[in-house]
Symmetry: C2
């Protein structure tokens, strides 16, 4: 699977990720903020960790969980593949391309690639 999306399917995990956007947090604090019991938080964090969304830094007895950038990058790259679908700017881009095609003439391309 291209990106570990399924880990975010769970609402509480999405909330955890949202919370971690504000910076690394220890398990207990996450539980407080989201009104979740500690074991559930640990379990969700485990899933998120195995999916690559978070990582833990050990500080004394605490584990400070923080977001990892990689899956976000991956997701962004995946979205890029669909850009022509949803990006409004694609239309402008298409127009420009069309214009270039006309200016250049079709079929033979006499200019070649010597645009530079």
């Amino acid at each position: 699977m291209l990106v570990a999306l399924s880990a975010l399917a769970e609402p509480n995990r999405l909330r955890i990720v949202g919370l971690l956007r504000g910076g690394p947090q220890p398990v207990g604090r996450i539980g407080e903020r989201l009104s979740l019991r500690q074991p559930q938080v640990s379990k969700h964090l485990r899933v998120l960790k195995e999916a690559g969304w978070v990582d833990a830094e050990v500080v004394a007895q605490q584990r400070r969980y923080a977001l990892r950038p990689e899956p976000f990058l991956e997701l962004q790259q995946w979205l890029e593949d669909y850009r022509q679908l949803w990006d409004a700017r694609f239309d402008e881009l298409a127009a420009v391309v069309e214009e270039l095609k006309q200016a250049e003439g079709k079929g033979r391309a006499p200019h070649g690639k010597t645009t530079k």
Copy 2:
């Protein structure tokens, strides 16, 4: 939930979305391409449709399913909130913004898109 992510958690649905990237497809063709039985394809399409990822155009007895741009946009916007996390270029950008703010005086346009 911000975006209908859970619908994409299912591997086969992710595959269906991937297939539809190549253009609208009728149910039967999707089943062929992905080696899925027709009822499952219909069921998955139903979920995707209710989540807003696809829409169907009726052509004779066929239903041609196509991707809808909205959820992709939504997902992109969600990603934007995490940009400082994963986008390496964020640092440069922040510098530019800072520079503009200084030059212009009062701040403006807090959420502009990058012009690539």
